[in-house]
Symmetry: C2
Subunit: 225 residues, 2 copies
Amino acid sequence: MQKNAIILFSGGLDSTTCLAIAKSQGFVCYALSFSYGQKHQVEVEWAKKIAATSGVAEHKILNLPLDELGGSSLTDKQKKVDDHVANGSIPATYVPARNTIFLSFALAWGEVIGAVDIFIGANHIDYSGYPDCRPDYLQAFEQMAVLATKRGREGERFIIHAPLLQMNKADIIRAGVKLGVDYSQTLSCYRADAAGRACGSCDSCVYREKGFSEAGVDDPTIYVL
Amino acid sequence: MQKNAIILFSGGLDSTTCLAIAKSQGFVCYALSFSYGQKHQVEVEWAKKIAATSGVAEHKILNLPLDELGGSSLTDKQKKVDDHVANGSIPATYVPARNTIFLSFALAWGEVIGAVDIFIGANHIDYSGYPDCRPDYLQAFEQMAVLATKRGREGERFIIHAPLLQMNKADIIRAGVKLGVDYSQTLSCYRADAAGRACGSCDSCVYREKGFSEAGVDDPTIYVL
């Protein structure tokens, strides 16, 4: 029997590849997106389009008021989303506790629909240095999840799948291409305009561009300039 | 210098006592409430009134769409909130992953305002058997929190304070009375009416009533009948 899985799904390169991997592993996929006050909210529209043609069992979009807490240039209108700078520190685009919040909602939905498998497109090679994309964090969340839930207490084990964790962007793109992912449908830019055109110079764009280049795959991204 | 703390705050007996304890320990208190699609949403109005007279630095109320996930008689209009039954199983009022979601938002806000102390009124004596009120869960959340956050990665340690954890309801009430809590201002009932009158027979009411009785404190709750 096929098992249900929840896929955290932004419509970007990583989570779209992650969805394709979950499908290739035989999971019935429930995609979960968030409209969380991100300036690049247009990503949710792209996520909808991908989900509609990806054979997911359901695509749920939840509104979360992360912008009411602030603390990130992705949600705070007073802060500018900067160009990529490679200095090893956690950048201003970090959204406090975002993955913990997203995974917690996945846990809740998983309790309800009977999905103990949760996929997240986190990777920590070619990434922005966010604390909540690292392996030790994901392991700790998994341990907490078993104790947090009814299913966990009854003997089931929630598994946080992060199949991209040890892949660089080029690896991810190669894996996605093999699985038939159409990257022209994905949107990664933090500063995408209303039409979904990418800026080409934010953190997310820089890692994405580098990935296509290293993978030797034509970059289908439409840039503003 | 006084330290900031986030207090998960529903306006009920437990969280109001928890707020009083945090204040008595010298914390500058930031109260955090959620309108999460609970049928007894009137509790948020009560929380507002208590917060307004409790000297909190700020009271934030966030809207979360937990009712879109369902899975609980507290949020699902198709399900009835039952009378209390003492049978040891996790009751239908359990809201999947609720405390994990609430604590995750506290974590996010704590990152922003510089509060690594988070108070939650969880207790696991005289309680409904919810998995996410138990000591091992709270410890696991704390461990995860350090790895999830920028402050954690920078060497600070988030602390989940659950001062009521090992207290029964009578102990909680006695502690609150000593600290000057006015329990007539608190609302605990899962089936409270629009005026905030309690049903007297849901899980929450039964434990509360028993607590006042055992503590030898007059029960100021206004019941429907």
